[in-house]
Symmetry: C2
Subunit: 270 residues, 2 copies
């Protein structure tokens, strides 16, 4: 089985692929578009895409791609992002003067680096910083990346979990061509648009509240080309194979300008 | 007047500072934390922080900082992100073989570059890519960054607006120590938490729907440390100086576990 992800070998997304799918072949793709294309043209059976990070927010680009492509969500995975301080195999912590990584990773470890007097230097990618460090052979430099990136390049992990905020999670969705029937407790993801008039979202939410359906995500997003319309993402507990969910979606269809079910899938259990 | 922003001179955030505040002194800060700190300790009178991008989503980190700091939102600004293809002054379009920029900017211009057979190479920053290009003196290379970055380094803009998706906007908030009383049509931003029980959000939204108050943003965010609680961001039309808004917030206080008004400010008019 081949699973597409965005990034280079050693990226956090690749780690999520192995955590979620087990022993599969990973297919690195340059962009999110290329990830969707790999599933569309059959180069990979499925893909794992990040849709939100607890610190950085939702990744609208991947919701756009879910809307533009005819693929289904088949599962979800929550990755705890644990940054590692990575050095050449025989280097000691005391030798490190400089850390290189993607700006976001450096930002997430800013306190840690400051307290130890380590200078931060930005490079384009987390996994790429480990590759660069290996090539340079610099003993005074550490890279910040995933455990997997360290192992891939045969490097040493000086310390793991150096992020300042431990509540750093990325939520991934597994996508494929065919819809699934979830075996365990299910979640369903939908996207819909409403007319921008006071109370329209309230009506839309009543279809869930009236049926005691629990929401796990709600997000509005202005449609920039259409200043009076909004796009909403909702995740709710339930599957489109269940009568209550079906009725709620039928009811929502009465208010929504457009409505798309992205998939029902097993809820992630930590 | 001195206004803090995150990034280097020439960053999109700096462009937003001048668009919104006019002729002021800009204060570049390394991180969002440093931006808030600059306002707290009086090094700058105010700051402009990005809180959402139409393609990339909300920037939770800045909402966290709004909650942790005792500052007020005093205004909003919507920046249309227009990427420029930037080269040395006398270079012709036909000479360009390679483009350097931040991965996000390269991704947003991927189609444009592919059609022209231009190779993408990642560097850490958009404004930084112009600086790098100037230092290297490479005639076969272009940087992708803001108009302002090109002007700052005395470089040539070969083409402006090369992003694949024109609907690329970043929303900025102006923050300062003192709350303001908005003169024109106002917007108010609030953050609150609710117990995770079916229908709790529906109740919370009823306080606005029952008073015909229009919402312009709603977003839920799981509190990772507290798996049964959610944080909600809502923006609504109205000011805390108006009776209807005051009553709605009082009413919301009956349901919410915590409630924080981030500020009332003039709504941005494009």
């Amino acid at each position: 089985m081949k699973i597409a992800f965005q990034g280079e070998h050693g990226a956090y997304s690749e780690q999520a692929v192995f955590d979620y799918f087990g022993e599969v072949e990973s297919l690195p793709c340059e962009s999110f578009d290329a990830v969707f294309e790999a599933v569309n043209n059959g180069r990979s059976e499925a893909a794992l895409i990040p849709v939100e990070n607890s610190l950085a927010g939702s990744i609208h680009q991947n919701y756009d791609l879910l809307l533009r492509n005819d693929l289904r969500i088949a599962g979800e995975y929550l990755l705890r992002v644990r940054h590692c301080l990575i050095a050449l195999p025989d280097v000691k912590m005391g030798e490190i003067k400089k850390a290189i990584s993607h700006p976001q990773a450096l930002g997430q470890c800013a306190d840690y680096l400051r307290k130890r007097g380590i200078q931060a230097e930005q490079v384009y990618d987390t996994a790429g910083s480990v590759k660069l460090l290996k090539e340079s052979g610099a003993r005074d430099t550490a890279a910040i990346a995933s455990r997997r990136a360290a192992e891939l390049y045969g490097m040493q992990i000086l310390e793991e979990g150096i992020e300042d905020n431990a509540e750093n999670y990325t939520r991934f969705l597994a996508i494929q061509k065919e819809a699934i029937v979830p075996a365990s407790e299910a979640k369903t993801s939908i996207v819909f648009t409403l007319k921008n008039q006071p109370g329209s979202l309230f009506k839309a939410m009543s279809v869930f509240a009236l049926r005691d359906i629990d929401l796990t995500k709600i997000e509005s997003r202005p449609l920039q080309g259409k200043p009076w319309e909004y796009l909403f993402y909702i995740d709710f507990i339930g599957s489109t194979n269940e009568e209550t969910s079906k009725r709620a979606l039928d009811h929502l269809g009465e208010y929504a300008l457009t409505l798309r079910v992205l998939g029902s899938y097993a809820r992630f259990k930590g």
